[in-house]
């Protein structure tokens, strides 16, 4: 403990008085005389030693040492001063002829003035150094736990830990994904001293632009006396999370936190502590964007002993979404998906992939305000044109067969998420995309709906027929010509149609009437029945796998454009016409295929050989090959 201020001052005063007093003693003319009333050199030496002791004590600034020196001062120094003062007083009263008068009375009295000051300072030092230390109450604050109460799910937190799994992909690659369904739950608190505090914080999700609210358990400890706690306040500091070299927030932010309700003063008894549960609300909202940030939280207590603070430097990570996360998909029959069943698990890895896609897409193409449709556009553009997500013929999730190319077969949601997750360091063979899993377009379409809905971008619904709730549609090509002689152009000539394949009757050599279906050839030369497209808000189509076949705004009639790849041909801005699309042409080859499979449904009439595969002459009279163009 340092020397108390009063004692410090007394030491300084004593040292100040010592110098003149010692000098006065050294100046005495009886300094070396044996008949001097006291041994003056010894006295000088004594006071010089005392002077040194004081200086050392002052330098050490130790209250205990000062108290000891003060005690010695009272026992030896003060009596010594008093003896000399008494001696001088006696001398001052001696007559001129008194042989014991070794110094002049005036000198003795003058010296006593100096010694009197020294005596006064010394006595003050003794008094102050030995006096009991004055008691000063102090308060300390410690955060015990933090819970973000306005998070998605509220008390039953929606966000769950990543599911991490290792899959053996069919090309021999081991794919470790963090996008699997979660196997557990996060703690109720995002930050807890019981878990180790900083470095052991947990994330949560909340809608961007919503108010942060926190429930903090904190401890106020009083020392040196009672402390009255009058209230609390705080501050959230958000730092943009970095992902793949990109900031997941436009700007870092600070939000002041104020008490949700006033509290009555609470007295914390000195030497004890009280735990408080404090509800604080943001005086501003989280940034109104899709993003992610790491948080630091500083809490301040308003007390009678000052305003102690404590900071949780890693107080959680917040994932900001457009709305409440949702999304569900199930496949009870092969290649049939409905947006129902168990909701998808909302995990940090899934959210981060979606947030990254949305932000990177927005950064890549300026789409306008952060409206839901623009966010969906952004995700689509990024996944398709930057991240390299693409269809993979013959890979799909089936209820009964493992056709995913992964072993063991992942759960449906996991597979769909993996099909949207790029693997920059792992290259797939051939034309297969560099993604964790490979999938056909209708699987990608459902996956895209899950990604949108986890950010609260809804609804991914297309309502064809009575109340079906599909997140995707099958987009079929249409021929330009009619299928009856003289094969005139259809009016109006349409390029594509949703959910209804184009089929035409064909008569076999044996007279049996069969049917053929129009398909298109994709950019890899694969034969496609359709393009699976995600449908957003029942109006916008997103062909994540290949190209758009129908217009983006189906309106009352889904039959419309069929275009193919070029420069963003599948991205539609306005008004409902694909960019770079030549309505007089179709860029993808078409073909009629078909009778082979429909034999099986025609109740046993074997027609195998008259139409084994493609129709080499879809329009009689045209000198064309097996594949033909829309404009042929």
């Amino acid at each position: 403990m340092p020397i108390n201020p009063q004692a410090c001052k007394a030491i300084d005063d004593t040292l100040a008085a010592l110098g003149p007093a010692v000098a006065s003693l050294q100046d005495r003319k009886d300094y070396a005389r044996k008949d001097a009333p006291f041994n003056v050199p010894d006295a000088v030496s004594f006071f010089q030693g005392y002077q040194q002791a004081l200086q050392v004590c002052r330098a050490k600034d130790d209250q205990g040492g000062a108290a000891t020196l003060a005690e010695q001062t009272g026992k030896t120094v003060i009596p010594k001063i008093q003896d000399i003062v008494s001696s001088n007083l006696t001398l001052s009263k001696m007559g001129q002829l008194n042989t014991q008068r070794t110094i002049e009375p005036e000198t003795a009295l003058a010296q006593n003035v100096l010694l009197g000051k020294l005596l006064q300072a010394s006595m003050a030092f003794v008094a102050s150094a030995q006096a009991k230390q004055a008691v000063i109450a102090t308060a300390t604050l410690a955060i015990r736990s933090i819970t973000y109460t306005n998070r998605h799910g509220g008390g039953a937190k929606l966000l769950r830990p990543d599911g991490v799994s290792l899959y053996l992909r069919a090309d021999g690659q081991f794919i470790q994904t963090h996008l699997d369904d979660s196997g557990g739950f996060f703690n109720a608190t995002e930050w807890d001293i019981g878990r180790g505090g900083d470095g052991h914080d947990e994330p949560f999700s909340q809608t961007g632009g919503a108010q942060p609210r926190v429930r903090i358990v904190c401890r106020v400890t009083a020392a040196g006396g009672n402390v009255t706690v009058n209230g609390f306040a705080g501050q959230l500091d958000g730092t943009a999370l970095m992902h793949n070299g990109a900031a997941m927030l436009n700007n870092n932010f600070t939000v002041a936190l104020a008490a949700a309700a006033p509290m009555a003063p609470v007295v914390v008894v000195g030497g004890a502590h009280v735990d408080f549960t404090v509800d604080l609300d943001g005086t501003a909202n989280f940034p109104n964007e899709i993003g992610a940030a790491t948080l630091a939280l500083t809490l301040t207590a308003n007390t009678s002993a000052g305003n102690p603070t404590d900071t949780a430097h890693a107080a959680g990570t917040v994932y900001l979404t457009f709305g409440a996360p949702g999304g569900a998909a199930q496949s009870l029959a092969a290649n049939s998906f409905t947006l129902g069943g168990n909701p998808q698990h909302v995990t940090p890895a899934r959210l981060l992939l979606a947030i990254w896609a949305a932000r990177a897409g927005m950064a890549w193409v300026v789409l306008g305000p952060a409206a839901a449709t623009n966010w969906v556009d952004a995700i689509f553009l990024f996944l398709k044109h930057v991240a390299g997500v693409q269809f993979s013929l013959n890979y799909r999730w089936l209820p009964a067969v493992n056709n995913t190319g992964l072993w063991l077969k992942p759960p449906l949601h996991t597979y769909l998420w993996m099909s949207l997750s790029p693997t920059p360091g792992i290259h797939s063979p051939g034309t297969l995309p560099d993604t964790e899993a490979w999938a056909e377009c209708h699987n990608l379409a459902v996956a895209f709906a899950l990604m949108g809905e986890i950010l609260g971008l809804t609804p991914f619904v297309v309502n064809f027929g009575a109340g079906n709730r599909l997140g995707y549609a099958t987009d079929y090509p249409l021929p330009r010509r009619q299928d009856v002689a003289p094969f005139l152009a259809a009016v109006p000539a349409a390029h594509g149609r949703l959910n209804q394949p184009y089929q035409r009757p064909r008569v076999a050599p044996d007279g049996t009437v069969g049917r053929q279906q129009l398909g298109f050839v994709d950019q890899n030369g694969g034969r496609n029945n359709f393009e699976g497209v995600t449908v957003f808000n029942n109006v916008r189509l997103y062909p994540l796998g290949e190209c758009i076949l129908a217009q983006n705004n189906r309106g009352a009639n889904a039959d419309n454009y069929y275009c193919s790849y070029g420069v963003l041909p599948d991205y539609v801005i306005s008004p409902n016409v694909p960019v770079n699309f030549d309505a007089t042409r179709g860029l993808a080859p078409l073909f009629f295929a078909g009778e082979w499979i429909h034999w099986f449904f025609n109740h046993g009439v074997w027609q195998w050989n008259w139409q084994n595969g493609y129709d080499p002459n879809p329009y009689p009279g045209l000198a064309i090959g097996a594949d033909f163009m829309w404009e042929d």
Binding site: A333, N403, I597, G604
Partner: protein, 215 residues
């Protein structure tokens, strides 16, 4: 047996004949990614279509050998496994799967009935699906398909392997061939034709479509 509607060739044509035949030459283990993909596909469909226990399912890949451009020019994956004391052989091209199973001879039983009983024990389909119709015979090998006059298609709109099932039976063994079509809408046009099944894990020497259509 009604032979009046005999087709000029058997179901699955030359591809079916090749898949039912004994392996041509010495097979090779999968090594390249494309070969691994083919083996994975073959095992996935075998495991998905047949009633197998988990031990057998997980061991399928060990028996798989590759026969690139086998005999008549098809990339084929072949495998075998044991179940209930029988050795069952499998083979598949890109879109077509073949399963051959030995039978306990029963001269009194019709080939279609023998095949249906074997299929019922083998395939994971509703029992009502196994009503077979004989379409013809080649020597002592009888063949046919499901009788859709007696049973309904599993998927009336899209190709389904259960509807595309064809059978062969000579009394001592039965072979089943089907298209690897899961039912429901698929992006890929799943074709059991010979031209669409020639190349799977090898690279065609020239455009297969051109080859196919000029053939």
């Amino acid at each position: 047996m009604d032979t009046t509607t005999n087709p000029p060739v058997q179901p699955y044509d030359a591809l079916g004949t090749q898949l039912r035949a004994a392996p041509g030459g010495k097979g090779a283990l999968a090594a390249k990614p494309e070969e691994l993909l083919a083996v994975d596909n073959h095992c996935g469909w075998t495991a998905g279509l047949l009633k197998l226990d988990e031990t057998t399912r997980s061991s399928l890949v060990k028996s798989c050998l590759l026969y690139p451009q086998e005999a008549a020019g098809f990339d084929i994956v072949r495998g075998s496994f044991s179940a209930r004391g029988l050795t069952i052989a499998t083979a598949s091209s890109r879109h077509v799967l073949c399963v051959v199973v030995p039978l306990t001879p029963n001269p009194q039983a019709e080939p279609a009935a023998l095949a249906a009983a074997a299929a019922k024990a083998l395939f994971d389909l509703p029992a009502t699906a196994f009503v077979f119709k004989e379409m013809g015979c080649d020597g002592n090998v009888h063949y046919g398909v499901r009788d859709f006059s007696a049973t309904k298609p599993i998927d009336a709109e899209w190709p389904h392997w259960g509807d595309a099932l064809a059978w062969w039976c000579d009394g001592s063994q039965a072979a089943f061939i089907t298209t690897k079509a899961p039912g429901g809408p698929t992006q890929e046009v799943i074709m059991p034709s010979a031209n669409e099944n020639r190349y799977w894990f090898t690279v065609p020497s020239k455009d297969p479509d051109t080859t196919a259509r000029s053939a």
